[in-house]
């Protein structure tokens, strides 16, 4: 199944007239030198043609609503419909971000309560909701760490320590914040090499960025010791909340000794991934970073809510978005947290871990090799197919592509970088046991195919809208916009 480009449905002179305002006679006073002379390339289609085209496009996607989506490190859990519906009430959608506070108390109540709940669930002292994605939350976090050191006159601290298993955003963020990256290795059991950390810290250490449980799918057991080492050296600890789903309500980053964390509300708090955004990367901070939080923040005085701005936080790292971050996403996270409530929080971690450990156990029993078999899985785990790659010539990408034919979105492949031929699998708590069982059966079937008909696996997928794509051609013969001539 394919769908033509919308430009190919277009015919001159056709339009969706009902969607346009009735033309006004008065032409404006814009001089011709400032006016557009030729029309942009936009399709000329009817409403039905547009609706049919985009509906068909949607049907070419895998999504949580249509497929099991065990994409490791991405927490593809069910996005409750209520969160969308109640965040899209007309009064909320119609609210201008700069409207008077007196006309937005209901909206601000939701955001204030969200701040409070996130503080509680992470054990942090303050929360700012403005970062628009995880990576921007990271940026805010490292910027606050820098601002903290600078405010103390400790200006030489410009090194950020990052474990080798970290997300690529961690080192990229450190660079954006003007820091140098110091990478430290992981041990073969998945824990950080604490000895290497001791050697890495010093008077130039600004901080360390950690994900816990790590991207290796295991809990960093020596976290308290790590915190002590970094703090003693004068550095601060940054918590990358990518894997917060694994520990929600079970252990809090603030209690582990972290000074700043970002949360991916689109992961842990179930706001939609939307085909790659919008995300939301709220940050939480310990006492010492409170003055540096990004603004605006919702403050409460008596029973009135108001925006905290530069006047309230003169040392703030500033504004990361024009207005209030991805406000509509925040409302969805708020609704989700209220529906789950206090006991729903730890249940998230419990059933996410149950599903991951069950799936890991079943796959291992079926002959697949876990990267860290001696460890408890967190909410995700790594299977390595390096043996299959060596003996059968079938690699992690081939397994991933063949899974698509079986109706499963592929796990994350080739990340973390230090485990060869890896599949990082995260089922999330919203999947039922029978769906996990069916996934195991698919993996077993693919393994059998790899042994008997490797070519079939290596050339998968066979049943999707397209076969494997020529990425080299895509990068070499750049075709980034459609041209009418061809």
């Amino acid at each position: 199944m394919t769908e033509k480009l919308i430009f190919e449905h277009s015919r001159p002179g056709r339009s969706a007239t009902a969607q346009r305002p009735h033309a006004v006679a008065a032409q404006s006073k814009i001089p011709s030198a400032l006016r557009r002379q030729t029309r942009p390339l936009l399709p000329e289609v009817s409403e039905l043609q547009a609706v049919r085209h985009f509906t068909r496009l949607s049907q070419l996607n895998f999504s949580i609503d249509t497929h099991f989506y065990p994409l490791g490190s991405c927490t593809m859990k069910y996005n409750p419909r209520a969160c969308n519906q109640y965040a899209m009430l007309p009064e909320l959608l119609g609210r201008h971000p700069l409207a008077p506070e007196s006309l937005g108390q209901g909206f601000m109540t939701c955001l204030f309560e969200l701040q409070e709940m996130l503080k509680e669930v992470t054990g942090m002292r303050g929360v700012s909701l403005t970062p628009m994605a995880g990576a921007q939350g990271e940026f805010a976090g490292v910027a606050m760490i820098r601002a903290y050191h600078h405010a103390r006159g400790d200006v030489q601290r410009d090194e950020i320590i990052v474990p080798d298993a970290a997300h690529g955003t961690n080192p990229a963020t450190a660079t954006m914040c003007g820091c140098k990256v110091v990478e430290i290795p992981s041990l073969s059991n998945g824990d950080i090499d604490v000895e290497a950390l001791k050697g890495a810290v010093g008077p130039k250490t600004a901080g360390i960025m950690l994900t816990n449980p790590s991207t290796l799918g295991v809990f960093e057991r020596r976290i308290v010791e790590v915190a002590q080492i970094v703090h003693k050296a004068g550095g601060l600890l940054y918590y990358d909340g990518a894997n917060l789903n694994a520990i929600l309500g079970k252990v809090r980053p603030g209690d582990m000794g972290f000074d700043v964390i970002h949360m991916n509300l689109h992961k842990t708090f179930s706001t939609p991934h939307g085909g790659g955004g919008p995300g939301s990367g709220a940050v939480g901070v310990s006492e010492r970073l409170l003055p540096f939080m990004p603004i605006p923040i919702v403050g409460k005085e008596g029973d009135k809510y108001r925006w905290l701005t530069e006047k309230d936080l003169p040392q703030s790292i500033g504004r990361l978005s024009a207005f209030m971050g991805n406000a509509g996403v925040l409302l969805r996270a708020y609704i989700y947290m209220r529906m789950l409530g206090r006991d729903g929080m730890h249940r998230v971690a419990e059933f996410a871990s149950l599903n991951a450990n069950y799936l890991s156990a079943r796959l291992q029993k079926a002959g697949f090799e876990a990267a860290y078999p001696s460890r408890r899985a967190s909410h995700e785990f790594i299977i390595t197919v390096k043996r299959q790659a060596r003996e059968l010539g079938v690699n992690a990408m081939d397994f991933a592509k063949r899974l698509l034919d079986y109706g499963y979105h592929a796990p994350t492949t080739y990340f973390p970088l230090l485990v060869p031929e890896c599949l990082l699998i995260e089922p999330t708590e919203t999947e039922a046991k029978q769906d996990l069982d069916a996934f195991v059966e698919a993996m077993i079937a693919i393994q059998r195919e790899a042994e008997t008909d490797a070519e079939k696996v290596k050339t998968a997928p066979h049943t999707l809208p397209v076969r494997r794509l020529d990425d080299v051609r895509a990068a070499k013969q750049l075709d980034l916009v459609w041209k009418a001539t061809g």
Partner: protein, 448 residues
């Protein structure tokens, strides 16, 4: 258990496969003294019905405000079909299209978006979006420094006719990378930037200048002259534009002799509701020669192994998951769902429909200005052509004006006095095609 499908039998079977006594045993690697206590600060769970009632109550508390604010976010009619399709689960609950074969819908849509926004801005290439217009400006400043190999100064001019909101965000985004963002004064008579004001920088190494059209006051800049001045000075031009205005205004790719180098802006006016400030999306387009310096996702068209057309993420070697500390940006997600809305919106309206919307905005603004100019104590600050917005000055403090309007349920405009004390009691008011004659009369009446 909300959203958790496990039956007691499931749990027992699963635990026995794992070999764990109970669920709590799965957390036995976490040191016991770190384990969280009950989260007393989180209220008890609410049913879907109860949270629905609560949200309704909060929404009604805020009411339906009659909006006359712009300043970077604009109220427009959004065709019903747009969000009906955007919220389909296949778009709403998909992720970044890493598995291209299973994401052709999102990928083709983004390719079509890139085509539309590149054409609208008159540029050769586009990325698949950034967070919002303000942070896109920050990214554009960083990109200009990478792209302009001859310039060593890291100096970027941000005239005071550029949104101060955007300027603040740009400062926060680039502040750690030794860039110098420098303000340039504007003409108090016209509310625009003059070439004469730039002559103070003539012959200096300036990496880039930012030109906003329409500018923050809604006034139209002499973009041709400003762009030519910059290029003659060896300075790159970053345009900040409202995409809707480009239905009738000259696209940045045609400003001056050579056109600008980078275009950014906020896509919100294209099918994205105001929604209290977000989520919106930032767009960025540029010349082909700078494509490898561009941050964010980029979609390319290619073929599959049978030679059939397909779409995929491309030029990923720029990005953080490959380049890590040497990436063009730390950006990871884009604002895919909002781009989906904008692409459907632009498809439904087409070039002619967008022209009608833009022209209606102009007519409504003219109508508003004619009416408000008659109110004693109110003056229209700047003459000259404008789009969407106008600056009014009052004979009394702006907070007093806005309070009086708010009491009538009117969001009356954006107070310019904190940023521009030199303009006196100045208010930035926005009128789009959604404001009726009756709305305008209500506003005027509330001022009397």
């Amino acid at each position: 258990m909300p959203f958790i499908p496990h039956t007691p039998e499931d749990i027992q079977e699963m635990l026995s496969v794992i070999g764990a006594a109970n669920i709590d045993a799965l957390f036995d690697e976490i040191p016991a003294d770190l384990r969280a206590k009950p989260l007393v600060g989180i209220p008890e769970a609410m049913s879907e019905m109860a949270i629905g009632q609560l949200m309704q109550q909060r929404a009604v508390q805020d009411g339906r405000v009659l909006n006359f604010i712009g300043a970077g976010a604009y109220e427009h009619h959004i065709p019903a079909a747009v969000w009906a399709i955007v919220t389909r689960g296949e778009f709403y609950s998909a992720y970044t299209p890493y598995q291209a074969e299973a994401s052709q819908g999102t990928l083709q849509l983004l390719y079509q978006y890139q085509t539309m926004i590149a054409s609208l801005t008159g540029m050769e290439v586009s990325n698949a979006s950034l967070y919002d217009g303000a942070s896109a400006l920050g990214e554009a400043c960083l990109m200009a420094v990478r792209a302009h190999r001859k310039s060593k100064s890291l100096r970027i001019l941000i005239p005071n006719t550029v949104s101060p909101i955007y300027s603040k965000v740009a400062h926060a985004c680039v502040g750690h990378q030794r860039l110098s963002l420098e303000a340039v004064p504007f003409s108090k008579e016209s509310g625009t930037l003059s070439v004469a004001a730039l002559d103070a920088y003539k012959g200096q190494d300036i990496t880039a200048i930012v030109i906003q059209q329409p500018n923050f006051f809604g006034q139209l800049e002499d973009v041709d002259a400003l762009t030519d001045w910059a290029h003659a000075n060896g300075t790159m031009v970053i345009a900040v534009v409202n995409p809707l205005s480009l239905a009738i205004l000259k696209p940045p790719g045609q400003w001056g002799q050579k056109g600008v180098d980078i275009v950014v802006g906020d896509g919100q006016p294209m099918g994205v509701p105001l929604s209290g400030g977000g989520p919106y999306f930032g767009f960025m387009t540029t010349r082909m020669e700078y494509v490898r310096q561009m941050p964010g996702r980029i979609i390319g068209r290619t073929v599959d192994l049978e030679g059939k057309q397909g779409f995929t993420l491309t030029l990923q070697a720029r990005e953080q998951h490959i380049r890590r500390s040497k990436a063009t940006s730390n950006i990871c997600t884009n604002q895919g769902l909002l781009v989906t809305a904008a692409t459907i919106h632009m498809s439904l309206l087409g070039a002619e429909g967008l022209e009608d919307v833009a022209a209606t905005c102009c007519a409504r603004l003219d109508e508003f200005i004619a009416a408000v100019a008659k109110v004693p104590g109110v003056q229209v600050k700047f003459a000259g052509p404008r789009f969407h917005e106008a600056v009014l000055t009052f004979n009394r403090p702006i907070p007093q004006v806005l309070d009086a309007l708010a009491k009538q349920g009117i969001a009356g405009g954006y107070d310019l006095t904190p940023h521009y004390p030199e303009l006196g009691n100045a208010l930035l008011v926005c009128v789009t095609e959604t404001r009726t004659t009756a709305d305008i009369q209500k506003y005027v009446a509330a001022l009397l």
